[in-house]
């Protein structure tokens, strides 16, 4: 069924060599590689249909508009919502969350209001709220994580209350490999007349997602992490909520009537799409979603669950290696550290063997502080990764450890 060898053939970059080694790309949580189908959709768009959309009555403009709106419908379908009116194209998750923090936050947050997020948020779902809080006088509250990296839901129940206006949470963690109970958080939010925002940057690429089933009010994700081009992402929001919000960016397309002294706004989703949009990238993301649906998101999830567990097991066997996050119900991410080898040095040594992993704070500095580290190493898997690649990872880690051990037993 799920034929990983066939899938690998769709990804030209997997033929790259790093020095004399085959590329082993395990940095998918940072960004994914692109299948031929997506690259060709971009080329086809530029070579045959490129035009500015919505305002032209010539053939190319019609074709480009149709392609762009078809991509919107595909993505709405992928996220399991009929609301194309609620589906706004952005540059990525970060812009999507900022859009909410500006257009909803600046309008509705007041002194004394609270925004509840978690200790494990990516900076993308923390810094925009810090800025919004500063501008409005609202306060941020943080749901802590338990020792195994899962959310402290008892504390969540205490924190979400009458003052809460919005709850924001990563659906899946880019460090801990957790999948958070955002459905339950959405219930808690709604019981308190607050809104629920889900940062789906690490879920939409990897799990079947239904924004309806999650019960959230906003959902954000990034195209580049789900086989799509860079420079595109989406914000989905309940249309009736988007309707009440102020506009965010001003400019062409998002307007209805413009006078020198005032303007009125276009219908959803156009009200939030100012200026010439990332048309080719939206079309490319449509092709990525087609590709993912052809694999089946259930199969993608199963493949990665298996890889994640296999990696967890293989890496646990390495002496002194610390693994972060829970033992079970993991996504295809493993974050880890070695006492004697700094993550930077580790990834450099791995790179020498063609293995690309990430090291650093993964844009989660508060979480790093909570874990008591400055940085971790992280390997993250996607549709084209294999158990052999994980074996290569494990033995390269062992070699790196031996290499550093060879110089001395003394710790820095």
């Amino acid at each position: 069924m799920y034929d990983v060898e066939e899938i690998r053939h769709h990804f030209p970059i997997l033929e790259r060599r790093i020095g004399d080694r085959r590329l082993v790309y395990l940095d998918n949580a940072a960004t994914s590689q692109k299948p031929r189908q997506v690259i060709e959709a971009l080329t086809d768009y530029y070579e045959h249909h490129n035009a500015n959309i919505h305002r032209g009555v010539h053939h190319l403009a019609e074709e480009a508009t149709v392609a762009y709106e078809a991509a919107r419908r595909k993505i709405a379908h992928f996220l399991d919502t009929p609301d194309t009116a609620g589906l706004v194209f952005t540059r990525g998750t970060t812009e999507a969350i900022n859009l909410v923090a500006y257009a909803w936050g600046r309008k509705f947050l007041r002194e004394g209001d609270e925004v509840v997020i978690t200790e494990a948020e990516h900076h993308s779902n923390l810094v925009p709220w810090q800025l919004a809080a500063q501008a409005t006088g609202a306060k941020l509250r943080f749901i802590p994580i338990l020792e195994d990296g899962t959310l402290d839901m008892e504390e969540a129940e205490r924190l979400i209350g009458a003052r809460t206006r919005l709850v924001g949470c990563i659906h899946a963690s880019n460090v801990l490999a957790t999948i958070n109970p955002v459905e339950r958080l959405a219930e808690l939010a709604h019981e308190n007349d607050a809104l629920m925002l889900v940062d789906g940057a690490q879920s939409a690429p990897h799990l079947p997602v239904s924004v309806e089933a999650l019960g959230c009010d906003f959902f954000a994700c990034s195209g580049h992490k789900m086989l799509g081009p860079t420079g595109v992402g989406v914000l989905w929001g309940k249309p009736e909520i988007l309707e009440e919000m102020d506009p965010f960016l001003g400019g062409g397309e998002m307007i209805r009537e413009v006078h020198l002294d005032h303007s009125t706004w276009n219908d959803l989703p156009y009200k939030f799409e100012a200026g010439t949009m990332n048309v080719a990238q939206a079309v490319g993301l449509g092709a990525a979603v087609d590709y993912l649906e052809s694999l089946g998101m259930e199969n993608v999830r199963e493949h990665e669950r298996r890889l994640g567990e296999y990696a967890y097991r293989r890496l646990s066997e390495i002496e002194d290696l610390t693994l972060y996050g829970p033992k079970r119900e993991r996504t295809g991410i493993v974050s880890f550290s070695l006492p004697d080898v700094h993550p930077h040095d580790l990834s450099q040594l791995l790179d020498e063997e063609g293995i690309a992993i990430r090291s650093g704070h993964h844009c989660t500095q508060p979480l790093m502080r909570r874990l008591g580290v400055a940085a971790t190493a992280r390997a993250s898997f996607y549709v084209y990764n294999t158990e052999e690649e994980i074996d290569a990872l494990a033995s390269a880690i062992v070699r790196a450890r031996e290499f550093f051990g060879a110089f001395s037993g003394a710790k820095p």
Binding site: G19, P343, H344, G360, H361, F407, S408, P412
Partner: protein
């Protein structure tokens, strides 16, 4: 090829850092974080008679950032402020390929870093911190 980056000299400075620690009542104390990776360093110095009378560093980070900090302390110890600033400028010029590395010095071990642009910031972290510290100590 890449393992050449991790020379005996670098590993020695990393694992047996010179002048690691803090200085009480330092005239110069400057903390700097590499936002790209979370590495951090704090440099301390006593400045006396226009000279760097004592210098220490503290922090956590990769072998390159810590070894470079260690080498820096050796390099700046006892220098006049002007000499220290010149050392820092020269080092930064070396790290972007504008100056040659000194042949007979531990610093030469950092030459390999040039090939890895993302690591250059690791190598210069302590040096930038020290320059910031000198700037602030001026007022």
């Amino acid at each position: 090829m890449m393992r050449e980056l991790y020379t005996q000299v670098i590993m020695d400075h990393y694992q047996r850092p010179r002048n690691r620690g803090t200085l009480e009542g330092a005239d110069l104390e400057e903390h700097l974080l590499n936002p790209l990776c979370g590495d951090e360093v704090t440099v301390y110095a006593h400045l006396r008679d226009g000279k760097v009378a004592d210098v220490k560093f503290d922090g956590r980070g990769c072998s390159i950032s810590q070894a470079s900090a260690s080498m820096m302390t050796e390099r700046l110890m006892g220098r006049s402020r002007e000499e220290a600033e010149k050392e820092i400028r020269t080092f930064k010029a070396m790290m972007i390929g504008e100056k040659e590395f000194p042949a007979m010095d531990d610093l030469a071990a950092l030459k390999g870093v040039i090939q890895y642009p993302s690591r250059i910031k690791c190598a210069t972290l302590a040096w930038t911190a020290f320059q910031n510290g000198l700037d602030n100590a001026e007022n």
